[in-house]
Amino acid sequence: MFGYYVSLALRSLRGTPVLSALMVAAIAVGVGASMTTLTLNYMMSQNALQHKDDRLYAVQLDSWAPEKAYQNDTQMPWELTYRDAQALLRSDIPSRQVAMHRWGATVSQENSELRPFTAQIRVTTRDFFALFDIPFIYGNTWHKSSDQNPTREVVLSKKTNEKLFNGENSVGRSINLNGEPFTVVGVIEHWNPTPKVYDLNNGAFKNSEEIYMPFGLHRQLQIYSWGNLNGWKSEDISNYEDLLNSHYVWVQYWVELDNEKKKHDYENFLAAYIETQKTKGYFPRPLKFGLTRPSEWLVVNEVLSDDNRILGWLSLAFLLVCVVNAVALLLAKFLRKAPEAGVRRALGASRKAIFSQHLIESGCIGLIGGVMGILLTLLGLSLIRTLQMGRLDQIASMDWVMMLAAIGLAILASLLAGIYPAWRISNTNPSVYLKTQ
């Protein structure tokens, strides 16, 4: 009977083109509006590290001022001091750990046509690639000693390797950063998690870095972070060494802890470290540290802003209006066809049959509305991309999950809209419509 009902539905839609178009438009616009914002919110909530969510932790230490918290009464700083980062790196509890920050330098090549450019660089310890599961195309990460001692080595992103070496195996070759030669030790696969879960406080939707370099180079190159540098007291800083020993927070820190026991051990380690530091006059606040999984890290960093949430709720309310609108129009449409339903009842259709027939008609409207809703969503997303001036190009796009979700939402909305009108028509007394007036 399903096929019969569908053919009846299509015939009925053709029979009242204006009313049907209105309903399809209502559903399409409602779905388009909600899917535009839901797609944004969904893409902004993606966790590229989901598969390691049970082992990776962002580390926070509350090294902030005695009289007030870093933000909002309770918030710890997002980053660590260089001093604390160096101390944590000495622990052997985590199977992998990463101290890192954003930087940038000019890139040039000897005897090359390439125009020098400024590259985004990640200054990091060697575990970065293994901890975040980034495969290498060529070579590998640098040696452990490079995390402490200055070694002029770099790992290139796939794109940078294409730009500089046409994608060839460039391991062992040389590039200049800020005019100084560095040796390429590895090239990684394309890796650009959006949102940039491993570095959320420098713009959650920025691209991954173009070049990676060892953490042991700070003193030699006098590297100042291209991220945030936050402090709470004035210290007499007259040279770079003073900065490294200062209370300024600017180093991001991640650990990989294999199991609950390791996590527990590491918590004890952090607590003990803070206690020791307290005796030396550091960590004036109550003992507090944070180990946060990637999924929660995205939440606490408010990647999904209040504006996004407002738009999300608003568009759902919009869809609700469209559904109510569709209820009214469907009611009008079905009641107009009430005499036909009466005849069908007389000819042996049960209430359930009439109900199904009309619900399927609503579903057909939903299906068409869903397809048009996808088009409107694509339009809405391109509007967002334009308005956000390139900031959200990666985010404002639909994957097949969202396409299916759009169709599903449209059908769900139209079925919801259809329930009452279909029930009403299937429950009217057929004899009313059979008697000639």
């Binding site: 009977m1 009925s12 029979g15 005849v343 069908r344 007389a346 000819l347 042996g348 004899s431 000639t436």
Partner: protein, 233 residues
């Protein structure tokens, strides 16, 4: 075929309760052709709706083909209606968007016949009413008499045992009315039980038996009179 015992039907609005039928008793045997007459508002239509399982009585017992229908749910009643009862209305009640073929298809779909069976039955019943050539026409393209013949074809396609006709000739001129009446008599001769509501005494007289409904009850006097007439005939 049809047996009603002490059937009551009352309608209740916010303020008043009206009795459409009360202590209504009637028996129609297999193969009978019964006409039902009565002044408007007497309960003819209510009787027809109850007989056709479109409405449920407020009280009393109704046996259709020996089966007590009062305890049946909507699905079972619909199934019975589909299999055993055919309807013919004064206003024809063809579905205007569907062509003749698809109109006759409607009850067969609910019956659950396969496409081949449906096609066979539709063609046969259209042939019976002499409209086989116009299967693809829409109802609006036919005259009133032709439309009523299609309605009869639709009612007969499922081969019901029992045909309910509500003023089947009310919207037709006398020539067409006569043709439709002849068709009904022909159908009855082939064994289908017919109950026909009409206000035309000439038509009513052509039935085997006439009952009159007055104030929601079968008027005894009239039934007796006709009964006597039948007896003396």
């Amino acid at each position: 075929m049809l047996k009603m015992h002490n059937i009551r039907k009352s309608f209740r609005t916010d303020t008043i309760e009206t009795h459409a039928l009360r202590d209504f008793n009637l028996e129609v045997s297999e193969g009978e052709f019964v006409s039902v007459t009565g002044p408007s508002g007497s309960g003819k239509t209510t009787f027809l709706n109850i007989a056709g399982l479109l409405e449920t009585p407020t009280g009393g017992q109704y046996l259709l083909d020996g089966q007590d229908v009062s305890g049946l749910n909507d699905r079972e009643r619909s199934r019975l209606r589909n299999e055993k009862i055919g309807f013919i209305f004064q206003g024809f009640n063809l579905i205007p968007d569907l062509n003749l073929f698809d109109n006759i298809d409607v009850p067969l779909r609910y019956r659950g016949f396969n496409a081949k069976e449906r096609k066979k039955r539709i063609e046969k019943s259209l042939e019976q009413v002499g409209l086989a050539a116009r299967a693809k026409h829409l109802p609006a393209q036919l005259s009133g008499g032709q439309q009523q013949r299609v309605a009869i074809a639709r009612a007969l396609a499922g081969e019901p045992r029992f045909l309910l006709a509500d003023e089947p000739t009310g919207n037709l001129d006398s020539l067409m009315a006569r043709q439709v009446m002849e068709l009904l008599e022909f159908i009855n001769e082939w064994g289908t039980t017919i109950v026909m509501v009409t206000h035309d005494p000439d038509l009513a007289r052509r039935a085997h038996r006439n009952i009159q409904i007055v104030d929601g009850q079968v008027s005894d006097l009239h039934q007796n009179a006709l009964g006597n007439e039948a007896a003396t005939a």
